[in-house]
């Protein structure tokens, strides 16, 4: 007998597709924020599924801080642009670039100018009224209360005390000109769900996720990759060659790698399950401004 039950991944997939279609149907000018990481990979995959045999009826936007891993940019251009043929906008804050902020020296300022500011100006510039993001509620405490459809005012600000109630799968998509909604189709996915889905669906990923011998320096208790000659060695630091991989991808001077021998997806999942530290641990920005770093960033308009 057929049992009319979906597995948890199939149910999550269906719910995410529902969200993506709802945005495509109700907004004038949606965009998918693409960050090259594994969550973006899953979101891209779901967007393709949602409109098959058609194409996603919205462009993708990558906010390039110019400090991303080289491999990320290669993957983005080769896979998303060429292979999938998706319309991808790359936004660089050229004004900000002139300030010449070194992320290794001032990560907070760098993130604010090159990421948050850059994102806000480009959303305003193109007039996007909805922007998909790959954030998950399990990632970080302040996200647990985030809606799937999260309202942002004219200044892209999030007001945690004043969120619209969200019931059933009925999403309120109404906004006035200038206002927008951030949409998180992966809200209910956990890190394990994401990995398992990537494995089951065979979704391509940048190879930074897989362990490989890479040139790295040990800094702030983690391995930072020497991705180009902009990384200035501090006194006492020396370049070593280690088997490392990255659990999240971002600006290379701010993204710590972990020593690992995991070169396949099952091995990565195995490592993730056996590890005792959370995913964001390798990221430096969470540590800014005490425990509530992310939350402050979100109010300002960073994801």
């Amino acid at each position: 007998m057929t049992s009319y039950n979906l597995t948890h991944l199939k149910q999550l997939e269906a719910e995410s597709i529902h969200v993506i279609r709802e945005v495509a149907a109700e907004f004038k000018k949606p965009v998918m924020l693409y960050s090259v990481g594994k969550d973006s990979a899953v979101m891209t995959h779901l967007a393709l599924k949602a409109f098959y045999p058609g194409r996603p009826p919205f462009p993708f936007l990558h906010v390039d801080t110019t400090w991303k891993f080289r491999e990320m940019i290669e993957f983005r251009d080769k896979y998303v642009r060429q292979e999938l043929g998706i319309e991808l906008i790359v936004n660089i804050n050229h004004e900000g670039l002139k300030l010449g902020i070194d992320p290794a020296e001032n990560s907070e300022k760098h993130t604010e100018v090159m990421k948050t500011e850059s994102l806000k100006t480009s959303l305003t510039h193109y007039g996007f009224d909805a922007a998909f993001g790959g954030a998950r509620r399990d990632e970080e405490k302040s996200r647990a209360k985030e809606r799937v459809f999260s309202f942002r005012d004219k200044f892209h600000r999030w007001d945690p005390k004043n969120q619209r109630p969200e019931l059933w799968s009925l999403y309120n998509t109404k906004v006035d000109p200038g206002e927008s909604i951030r949409v998180f189709p992966l809200s209910n996915w956990t890190e394990l769900d994401v990995w398992q889905y990537i494995y089951l669906e065979n979704i391509p990923l940048p190879d930074l996720y897989f362990a490989k011998v890479r040139p790295v320096v040990f800094r702030n208790g983690t391995w930072i990759m020497v991705n180009d000659d902009r990384l200035k060695l501090k006194p006492g630091e020396q370049i070593e060659h280690k088997m490392v991989r990255f659990r999240t991808l971002g600006c290379y001077p701010l993204t710590g790698g972990v020593e690992s021998n995991a070169t396949t997806l099952p091995e990565i999942i195995q490592e993730m399950l056996l590890t005792t530290t959370s995913e964001r641990q390798g990221r430096m920005i969470d540590k800014d401004a005490g425990g509530a770093g992310m939350e402050e960033k979100k109010k300002q308009g960073y994801f």
């Binding site: 597995t7 149907a25 409109f51 045999p53 209360k145 059933w168 309120n172 006035d176 089951l200 099952p266």
Partner: protein, 648 residues
């Protein structure tokens, strides 16, 4: 538990395979402030190893600053979210938490216990399959408990676990636990809660949360974790009525025209005849398209794209259904509304109503009554304010395709949006207007609103005359027990005995009612409940004619059995619990139910086996495996006599 399985290190592929088959269960936790909700959630996450070391380290340091446990590890901090709230020391919004075990992935909607946050609870409850209602063992059932239970029943959550927390502070007392369970049952019998369970726990120390408590050996039921891992939710969704709200029309090229959407309910197969609403155009399903290949059949809640045989007009907001099973189509309907905005609901003002994929302008014509969430009392009201609940009549500008919320959560729900501020101001659940048909479970509630008509008042022959003739007082004896415990056999034997004595007696056999007046009912929790509700009224009618009524029903739910008592009158009601060991029951089962259930073919039956609640205080328990039929009959007759039902 997922994160401590040995399989991870030994055979990751096998582990992944195992975890691919998991189901998703959503639940909500409700409790008053300080009942231990955060502690319980923290405990579930902690014990299922969903916390990493860095998070733990952070928690431990925070326990010292914000914790309430004197610097020791405080599981409650796991769930505290935003900074401002953390400083106030209370949670004030809906937060979602995740954890998983080898069997299921869980999503917790963590909602506050605060007085004024009906709106948040309704939000969390709207997607939940199950509700955990926390009661502090020291305080017992409070007004808040009643309010939470009411909202849970209003939002149609079918499975309730009442966890009595802080048992450590009450010396792990069984009496205290029983007392609270009874209090809860007494008031819950007025609500529509088809499946209620009770578990005594200590969230702080973990008793009965994941592992059975050594401190409460008297409790032999499931631990909380075990319960939520195994509770059967398969029959909760509506697979009968196919409803496909068109969400998006896909026209990538001239040769392809597909209708994308999420199946709201029911099942559809390639080749099936369909009808497109509102145009009522007929066609057939040509293809069910997904990127992973075409499907032969699809069911709720899959997100698919369908292609029709014919070129029919169809756009977002239309609904594809089967010609023989259509929803109600109309611009007017009644609904229960939860108001969520500081600005009150004003009858006559226009709002945006969003239901499935349709948005339309409309207005609330009249507010029939407001429900006091604490007393459940209904009273007339001029408006509906923040966190108030009311029953309304609504008219919209464009026809909607809807079912009652009881029958179909997806097509029976809507949100209300303010046209100026764009804020979601309310949420509604459509009720059946003509209560005569189709209300199913909600019918229990009708009893309370409509003045129960007492048929004895209009009789020509008086109660006394009947009683004198038959030598008895009317009564209903419920024989409850699992299949194969001998309910029907014993009922018939008692009937024979009483008949020989010249008394007036009738048997209501669960199986027979299902072939007649209840032929429209299945075996879901709701349908079982409705089956008993109707049978209870039947018994009452027979009692009114002076008859003694023997009702043979499985009747697995304690709450439902109590309601039967409410209908027939407690003083006229007796419950006899029939038991027998599994072997005996299997032997007597000539229809092969047990075999089928063990083979996994009868999930509803298996569910009843697993979740049958023994009556808390039966008037009589008979082990029909060891006692002879005539002994059983003697004892039941003796019971009738001792209760004063037999007067000669």
């Amino acid at each position: 538990m997922s994160h401590k399985s040995d399989l991870i290190s030994q055979d990751i592929l096998a582990y992944l395979k195992q975890h691919e088959q998991k189901e998703l269960l959503r639940f909500i936790t409700c409790g008053s402030v300080d009942d231990g909700k955060s502690t319980l959630i923290g405990r579930l996450l902690y014990d299922s190893k969903m916390l990493y070391e860095d998070q733990l380290a952070q928690l431990e340091s925070e326990s010292k600053i914000h914790g309430t446990t004197g610097g020791g590890f405080d599981p409650a901090l796991v769930t505290d979210g935003l900074k401002a709230e953390r400083e106030q020391g209370i949670t004030i919004d809906v937060a979602y938490r995740y954890f998983s075990t080898a069997k299921r992935k869980f999503i917790i909607a963590d909602t506050p216990g605060h007085e004024q946050y009906t709106r948040n609870m309704a939000t969390g409850a709207s997607t939940a399959d199950l509700a955990i209602i926390l009661i502090d063992a020291r305080h017992g059932v409070l007004t808040q408990t009643k309010r939470h239970s009411f909202i849970v029943s209003l939002l149609g959550i079918r499975h309730i676990v009442v966890t009595v927390n802080k048992m450590d502070l009450k010396g792990f007392s069984e009496e205290r636990f029983e007392e609270i369970c009874n209090d809860y049952r007494n008031f819950a019998s007025r609500l529509d809660l088809p499946d209620v369970h009770f578990i005594p726990i200590s969230a702080l120390n973990g008793d009965n949360v994941v592992d059975p408590s050594p401190n409460m050996p008297w409790y032999r039921g499931s631990t909380l974790m075990n319960f939520i891992e195994t509770v059967y939710i398969g029959s909760d969704k509506n697979l009968e009525d196919f409803r496909f709200p068109v969400q998006f029309v896909s026209r990538p090229n001239l040769d392809f025209r597909g209708f994308c959407g999420t199946i709201a309910s029911g099942i559809i197969r390639r080749g099936d005849e369909i009808m497109v609403l509102p145009a009522k155009r007929l066609s057939k399903i040509k293809r069910i398209v997904t990127q992973d290949g075409d499907l032969e059949e699809a069911f709720c809640p899959q997100a698919v794209t369908v292609v029709l045989e014919d070129e029919v007009d169809c756009s977002r907001g239309d609904m594809i259904v089967r010609p023989g099973n259509v929803p109600k189509i109309g611009q007017q309907f009644d609904a229960t509304i939860v108001w969520m905005a500081t600005e009150a609901l004003i009858p006559g003002k226009t709002y945006i109503f969003k239901q499935t994929t349709l948005s339309t302008i409309g207005q609330i014509d009249s507010l029939r009554y407001r429900v006091d969430v604490n007393s459940l009392h209904r009273s007339p009201a001029p408006d509906l304010r923040l966190n108030e609940i009311g029953r309304c009549s609504i008219t919209v500008n464009q026809p909607l395709f809807f079912d009652s919320y009881r029958r179909n959560k997806t097509t029976g729900s809507f949100i209300i949006i303010d046209r100026v501020s764009n804020i979601t101001v309310g949420a509604g659940m459509i009720t059946d207007r003509d209560t005569a048909k189709g209300t199913k479970v909600a019918a229990w509630e009708q009893i309370e609103t409509s003045e129960a008509t007492d048929s004895t008042k209009v009789q020509a022959v008086s109660e006394q005359e009947r009683s004198a003739r038959y030598g008895q007082k009317p009564a209903t004896v419920l024989l409850t027990g699992l299949t194969g415990t001998g309910k029907t056999t014993i009922a018939r034997a008692v009937e024979r005995r009483l008949f020989e004595e010249g008394r007036a007696v009738a048997v209501i056999d669960g199986e027979l009612v299902r072939k007649g007046i209840n032929v429209d009912l299945g075996y879901t929790v709701e349908d079982r409940s409705e089956n008993l509700r109707r049978s209870a009224h039947l018994a009452k009618l027979l009692n009114d004619q002076g008859l003694i009524c023997l009702a043979a029903f499985v009747a697995p739910s304690e709450a439902v059995r109590l309601r039967v008592g409410e209908v027939v009158g407690r003083e006229k009601y007796a419950v006899v619990h029939l038991t027998a060991d599994l072997d005996t029951r299997r032997q007597r089962d000539n229809k092969g139910f047990y075999e089928a259930a063990e083979a996994g073919r009868l999930p509803d039956f298996a569910n009843v086996l697993a979740n049958y609640e023994s009556p808390e205080s039966p008037d009589l328990v008979l082990d029909t495996g060891s006692e002879s039929l005539s002994d059983c009959v003697d004892k039941i007759v003796e019971l009738l006599r001792s209760k004063g039902f037999l007067t000669r």
